[in-house]
Subunit: 307 residues, 2 copies
């Protein structure tokens, strides 16, 4: 396939490296000159401009910061071939869909979100193994055309990701709980520790280190993530505050029960037939039950999920 | 030195292994037969009973669960030699001092707290390297006799720990923020994630894994820790709730600023003279400034702290 990766930071850089390893023709682009130079020096085929990067693409992956995503969607809509499939890698899906619809991309845009990250951003942190075994959400909306969705599902399962079907709204509510909330708890823990002065910070050890790790994320990224998903994150934060006013022993026991059962044991599930007329709902049911596609063939979608 | 280690779980087991490596004569004891057998099979000299374990000890280290600590202090007070120094390894220091005073151990009991742990308990998780570079709080109360305090400081710096002087109250307030609060945030994150159902738990990745790690701690341990330090933990939790009602972007920026500066760079500080009449206050000042002793000699206490 001819693939264009727009944005060569942690996610885009890792993806360009991995897709090229898998034998695809990959062209990359980034608005930052230093990033283009760094990516080019590792063998990524960096285009001279955005139009050139996407001109011959079968699939365009937008891996730009959330704050730049709506603009990038509009730009690429005017530059990519009319039959190219567009996807993104942003951590909030509602606003991406709104931008895609404004750009007239209904049916050609399939929102994506690889659940892989680090507290470090930029191409320097990129590595082709970033997505091994990671969940990669691909959004199914009522107007999503299944053929491009399945093409992307095949592309990402082929590089070792678990493709999780979800609606944009269900995705945004889920990641508010397990991916965006941790940034707030990490920040609060860091702040409360700091209020304890130098003694507290010198005693801080493993539980503080792990509990504050994602506070190392550049705040321009975490703030943009919050702004794009504010309602769902506010709800998750409010639920947290409520739990912190309840019985302490009960909360500690509940947390232990959940953590001890996570991650769930995995079992094979019945495969899906890609030509089944009920496929869309079947795929969404797989995601809601905690499952994913791990292989995509013309006649068979292989499924796994919690045992 | 003749050392007795009472309680051979994660902390006591690791300490017994490390102190024996350092050339001390170490006798161990645990109320659990299986733990005694496991410890004995790794070469730890396990005594036939508690009295035998402590009968010839210069130093007794109580590394029992918090819920058993007061009872163990009372038991050992009646069994150890009259000139033996007693210390403990519990994560809350106020109740340990109350128990030591009830047992008539003023001046012979020096509360301790190694800031090293894991989410797994028990001798099976013990390893002699657990304390390398770890902070080890040794409590200085107004009635602490300095000679046994310095003897313990030498013992623990010799095995690679950083000895942090602190009062019991200042220690308990500090660890509520950086060690006990993380258990509540981990439990809350696990619970909020679980409320998102199977989809949320299947998308959970690195930020959830790290943010919930300490929720793997056996709840009987974390609940006991809370009960012994409830007032300070409640205050830290209330401060957290307050931060979570404030401006989200400000909180994310504050958290990033704290985490980026932690851990602090280290510099050598002026050494202390162990015979200085102001030593007690000088030691407490070192701890309050985020510093520690890293070597204890007869004529010189070597100090490091934040640069």
């Amino acid at each position: 396939m001819n693939l264009a990766v727009v944005g060569l930071g942690l996610i885009g850089g890792s993806l360009a490296l991995r897709l090229a390893d898998a034998g695809h023709r990959v062209r990359g682009w980034d608005t930052d000159r230093g990033t283009r130079t760094a990516a080019g020096s590792t063998g990524i085929d960096v285009a001279p401009d955005l139009g050139d990067a996407v001109a011959a693409a079968d699939v365009v992956v937008l891996a730009v910061p959330l704050a730049a995503l709506s603009g990038a969607i509009a730009d690429v809509a005017g530059l990519a071939p009319a039959d190219a499939v567009l996807t993104d890698a942003g951590s909030v899906k509602g606003p991406a869909y709104a931008a895609a619809r404004r750009a007239g991309l209904e049916g050609r845009f399939v929102g994506g979100h690889p659940m892989a990250g680090k507290e470090f951003a930029g191409f320097a942190a990129a590595e082709p193994t970033l997505f091994d075994g990671a969940a990669w959400v691909l959004v199914l909306e009522p107007d999503t055309v299944l053929a491009p969705w399945l093409r992307l599902a095949g592309l990402f399962t082929d590089i070792g990701a678990r493709v999780v079907p979800s609606t944009a709204a269900e995705h945004d509510a889920a990641v508010a709980r397990i991916s965006h909330l941790p940034h707030f708890l990490a920040a609060a823990l860091a702040a409360v520790g700091s209020s304890g002065g130098p003694l507290a910070l010198s005693l801080a050890a493993g539980s503080f280190r792990d509990g504050t790790r994602v506070a190392g994320t550049p705040p321009e990224l975490s703030v943009a993530m919050y702004r794009d998903n504010a309602a769902a994150v506010d709800a998750a934060v409010a639920e947290t505050r409520h739990l912190l006013t309840g019985d302490p022993a009960e909360l500690l026991r509940k947390g232990h029960a959940v953590r001890s059962a996570w991650p769930a044991s995995i079992a094979d599930r019945s495969p899906l037939n890609p030509s089944d007329p009920g496929l869309r709902e079947q795929l969404l049911a797989v995601g809601r039950e905690g499952g994913w596609l791990w292989r995509v063939a013309d006649d068979r979608l292989s499924v796994q999920g919690p045992a």
